[in-house]
Symmetry: C2
Subunit: 155 residues, 2 copies
């Protein structure tokens, strides 16, 4: 199979990632929370170096931005699985997730989609390598992080 | 831009993922360990449901297998960053990483590459949807996990 097509198919599969994944059994609340926290750890790990470049703290590296942005995008698609019902603070001790994630599910869902959308755009813009455009889109993406954390994450 | 080509480019960027990523500053040992543990949490989260399907514990779902396998592959490419020098048990309390990861770096590197290679094959085979082939490749991938854990992870 043509390599690019092959990789394209891989990407196409990823496009399905908003669908719920089949699990052997309902995972335990602690496992869901651990997964969720892991997803956000990886988002932060990749988002921060883009920020450092955008702020001029480290030299701009277009390839690195593109790679990091791609991981942020992929993890944004992996995030919803981490918010299964019953994995909130009632069931899990160590979590910053607020109960409103589940009581205001529709609003949370909108904020999640905002993040996914801007992260996908960041990844797209990053491929172009235009530093100014990346900076602007980084800001927009960061806004979606803040908007969601403000309402749905404990300080 | 053609959508498939676009996604293909995204995949091509991911192909660069063995290169070290630019970081704002050297991350703290604890942050590296947290990242590393997060990567393996996400690998487990996605690998286990494939295992459950392969073992017949839950109905086989080719699309789910393909998606999970893709995340395992991507995370296998993200894993090496999590083993930066100085992030071992000397510096980090809560880690199962053995010092041999760094003292036998070449051997560890080989085992990491074995895992990445089999995970990539699993992802490839999963796209085909052939249950028997997936089962066989799942086994081969699991072997690379075990081989590395045996030598480089504390029980």
């Amino acid at each position: 199979m043509n390599k690019l097509l092959e990789i394209g198919l891989v990407g196409a599969i990823l496009g399905l990632s908003l669908l719920p994944a089949a699990q052997a059994a309902d995972p335990k609340p602690e496992d869901v929370a651990q997964y969720r926290q892991s997803v956000y750890t990886i988002i932060g790990w990749n988002f921060k170096p883009i920020g450092a470049m955008v702020k001029g703290e480290v030299p701009f590296d277009a390839a690195a931005v593109a790679r990091h942005a791609q991981y942020v995008e992929m993890m944004s698609k992996a995030a919803p699985e981490g918010f299964a019902k019953g994995s909130g603070p009632d069931a899990v001790k160590k979590t910053e997730a607020k109960p409103e994630i589940w009581t205001k599910a529709s609003e949370f869902d909108t904020k999640m989609k905002d993040f996914q959308q801007e992260a996908a755009k960041l990844s797209e813009v990053a491929k172009g390598g235009d530093e100014k455009a990346i900076k602007a889109q980084f800001g927009k993406t960061a806004e979606t992080c803040k908007a969601c954390h403000k309402e749905f994450r404990k300080d």
